[in-house]
Symmetry: C2
């Protein structure tokens, strides 16, 4: 805070000058004592300067007896998962009561490296939502695929002293930490140097492996699956996040670990939350309400979403309704029965009402991050799938998650060994095409359980390297789909018999769009409907999200990268035939 | 932490190398979940690297089933109040279970300015106790006295980026904050610049005054008098300290404010703790045990003295027994019945056993802070007390505190108006002699209730400017006493009929000595006994501590500085006569 502002706050607080705003007739949710506190709240220059008393204010706002709740802090998210640019993301989540997010931009950085980091910093600078970033620690996620960039300890060094960069993003490379890998330690060292936070990502890690992970100074985890795992991580000093993303959700699973003695060690996060989830359920608000309905004391739930996150990430200027804190709060008529952010104030300004933003966030032109589709040596031959035998390996989709099975099947081939689609079997061709550096790399494999009868679906969202991934029964529609994505600069598209059935454009790095949540949701809803009706995609899966995870070579069993079919269990590439 | 150490910790934690130490057969106090957790603890390079498992260690220590408790953190203290140099202070408090102190060296800085700051940093550097400093914010405490130094915002700037300086020390000048005084704001600004902590000192401050104080970013308070005051400060976002000093104690008063919902906002501190209190009762341990005996859950009490303090002061490497934290802990056979630090480990080394240090702390030569006694134009005439009438103002001692009454009395004078001691009345002469800059300033007044029949008592500890203060019935003994202090470089001394009855030497800035707690306590015990027996000092007061506070012009009502009799209520100097 600059000294001029401090002086102004003190002057107003000490009643020598008028406040800008008085919020009267509210019950303040006091996250420190965890109780209600009826009082007026005074705001100056975007900060709370005091309660009650005989102060004067330029403007008054009648809270009508409602609850005044500090804005929520999302402790860990990837804005990219919303498909929205930071400005549109702000307009999408601010009406849900989210005031601050701590975002790891590792999706866009996998595509565009430091340009992506810079874009996320610039695009999230002057918008109502406060966006802090964690510098991505694991770009690329693995050496088995070709991402758009490789970020080193030197890159960390170039950005980590930015006051809006709170530390090092989720350290997914736990074998690298456990093995004291030099490159990993060098990245951690950059966080140590400035005493910044290091986020964790430690699914099912326990015992000595967890000890070494925590000994390395990694402070948070959002990957717990059981209350016992959460409890163990709390005991070892981590902050544990209750996560309510779209694909991965653990709020209700982990909730039994939260009690009156350890609640200060829990936070909430959304991690990967898709546009439709935000539209239909909300954001952090959804996680908080789930926890409250699950039996958690609402004051504790709110503290976890506010004060605890601010404490963990050392954001001293927020996380509570108290003097000197940012005037980030919202009004809700109900608490135990479900929090509904009816009027949202950020920095003392009314920015959203009844689920709608009042003033749209400022947009910036995406620089060096748009239309990135450097695909070379690409033709219909790129989809060739020649098999050495007809006993093939098959990626088996398992509905409800991102894990696949290591399947096998007897398939048809032509005289040259080329796979032939059998309409009687739900086996399709899947291909990944490198799109970042024109390497011409591409790979094909077989996938079972997607359901599609005829046509192709393609997307440029393919964790974590975000090459183009496409599934189909015929090479022509697959070719059209990929060509469409190259033309639009990325997105999700569907073709059938050479006809475009629908396209969701993601012109920013092939991951995000500068369009509104409403439009994106509408477009995706329509495309989902077409997927089901025209392409007959398996109703038990999300046709796009499922596809997005088929290239992620850290989640078992079979996955396909631009370099070939990968067996995550043996951690090696395997042939398409057994 | 340096990268070599991190690598070593990870290697040992991941069981690739041996640990240095295994503590087995203990019940770990888990301050996160607030429960017991039976496990082995492994230590490498001074850090905890994990629990249990099949690890190997170079050395084993049998905990014999006892409780393993993280070392206590004293959230706010003035080491000077112990009369001990940092090395001797370490040897004194480490056996009490204190592992870390956050010290505000404002006493020595009032005497020696930045030399005092530097000495405290140097002298506390390589000792078993971890000492962090807060840069004193209010030197001098008031403009009504002459201290040895004036510390400005520029001085703050010169020291605040030191990693062992955690921020700005207790901001006693709350009128200056409330008034947005430029010099005060500039000092606060130095803390804002590096996002460091600002400690508070806000006795009975409430309402708009507290709002403006907290709006200025001041985060802690240790001056609460009632549970209601504590609760109000918690609500406004402060961390509240339960203080158990020697003169000022509020643990049991404030305790009712601590509950299962807000406990994470409370800390413990000792503030000003005299040598005899440390010897007889312990240190932070005493405050913790008092709270436990007062009904506080022992896990919450321990968390307040460990995790909460580490969280507030952002000391991420301590405050709990968990991987990656410093191996600072101790063993106690009992918990609810009173914690007794039987064996104390700091950085993984056994440093104290059964109340005694095992290896003494390293001492350094005091540079530019010793023997500072620059008294000029001083003679027996300095004690002259000429009254305009025989209706005089009298400082009335009120036993049990540091507040005085604004008394008056009819006294005897000689023909020239000089005060004459009346053996039938308990009224004595008191004098303050400036000792820092040879200004020749001195002042005299009358004091009632000290009890002394014949002789004089003098000390160079006189809050906060620490000039020489002396009380007596006759000028000769007062002269001898002051001369003795000038000769020894400071301390406490007593004279009767020209005979020295005892002297406690405080050769470091006239405030501290490089002698042991045992010797200091023994010397003070003997002097107390002489005070009572030979000088007949009032048994209801501490003869030395009472004297130390008679020059502090911020606590009502009458006080004497080197510039004259001061009325704290009217905040102005007053004549010795009415």
């Amino acid at each position: 805070m600059d000294l001029k502002t401090v002086k102004s706050l003190i002057d107003a607080s000490a009643c020598r000058t008028d406040a800008d705003l008085k919020i009267r007739n509210v019950k303040i949710v006091d996250v420190y004592n965890k109780e209600l506190f009826p009082s007026d709240v005074y705001v100056k220059d975007g900060y709370i300067i005091g309660f009650g008393g005989d102060r004067k204010a330029q403007e008054e706002f009648d809270g009508k007896g409602r609850f005044l709740i500090p804005s929520f802090i999302d402790s860990h998210c990837h804005i990219e998962s919303s498909h929205l640019s930071p400005a549109e993301f702000s307009d999408a989540v601010v009406p849900c009561g989210t005031g601050t997010v701590i975002a790891d931009p590792h999706e866009i950085c996998n595509v565009t490296g430091l340009d992506g980091m810079q874009y996320m910093l610039d695009a999230s600078k002057d918008i109502p939502l406060s966006v802090f970033l964690m510098f991505p620690s694991c770009v690329p996620a693995t050496p088995f695929e070709h991402s758009g960039a490789v970020l080193s300890a030197e890159d960390v060094r170039a950005y980590i002293d930015n006051p809006r960069v709170l530390g090092l993003g989720e350290m997914m490379n736990y074998p690298g930490v456990n093995g004291a890998d030099e490159g990993v330690i060098a990245k951690l060292g950059e966080a140590y140097r400035l005493d910044k936070i290091i986020d964790g990502h430690a699914p099912s890690i326990a015992g000595a492996a967890l000890d070494s992970y925590v000994s390395a100074g990694i402070e948070t985890d959002h990957e717990c699956e059981t209350p016992e795992e959460a409890y163990d991580k709390i005991r070892k000093g981590m902050y544990v996040m209750l996560r309510q993303g779209t694909a991965c959700q653990n709020v209700l699973q982990i909730l039994p670990a939260v009690n009156e003695r350890n609640f200060s060690r829990f936070l909430f996060c959304t991690d990967d939350r898709q546009p439709q989830s935000i539209t239909r359920e909300g954001h952090v608000s959804h996680a908080v309400n789930l926890a409250i309905r699950g039996g958690l004391d609402p004051f504790i739930a709110i503290s976890m979403a506010t004060l605890n996150a601010a404490t963990c990430y050392r954001l001293r200027d927020r996380g509570a309704i108290a003097p000197g804190k940012r005037a980030d709060f919202f009004l809700s008529s109900s608490l135990e029965e479900g929090i509904v952010p009816e009027e949202v104030f950020l920095k003392g300004k009314l920015v959203a009402k009844n689920g709608k933003t009042i003033a749209k966030a400022r947009h910036i032109e995406p620089v060096n991050v748009s239309g990135k589709m450097d695909v070379k040596n690409f033709s219909i031959d790129s989809f060739s799938l020649k098999l050495k035998s007809n006993h093939a390996r098959v990626i088996d989709i398992i509905p409800g998650g991102v894990v696949t099975g290591a399947g096998e099947a007897y398939v048809k081939t032509d005289d040259d060994g080329n796979w032939i689609h059998d309409p009687g079997k739900d086996i399709l061709k899947i291909a990944v095409i490198e799109r970042h550096h024109g390497t011409g790399l591409h790979a094909t494999a077989l996938i079972r359980g997607y359901g599609l009868k005829h046509g192709a679906v393609a997307t440029s969202i393919a964790h974590d390297s975000h090459n183009i991934i496409v599934v189909g029964d015929n090479d022509e529609d697959m070719l059209h789909s990929v060509e469409k994505l190259i033309e639009t600069g990325g997105g999700i598209t569907m073709f059938k018999d050479g006809r475009e059935l629908g396209t969701h454009r993601l012109e920013i790095a092939g991951l995000m769009t500068d369009d509104s949540l409403g439009n994106v949701t509408e477009c995706l809803d329509k495309m989902h409907e077409i997927c089901e009706r025209e392409l007959c995609v398996n109703k038990d899966i999300d046709p796009f999200m499922t596809l997005c995870f088929m290239a992620l070579p850290v989640i078992p069993s079979y996955k396909l990268t631009d370099s070939g079919l990968f067996d995550v269990v043996s951690f090696s590439f395997v042939d398409n035939c057994l």
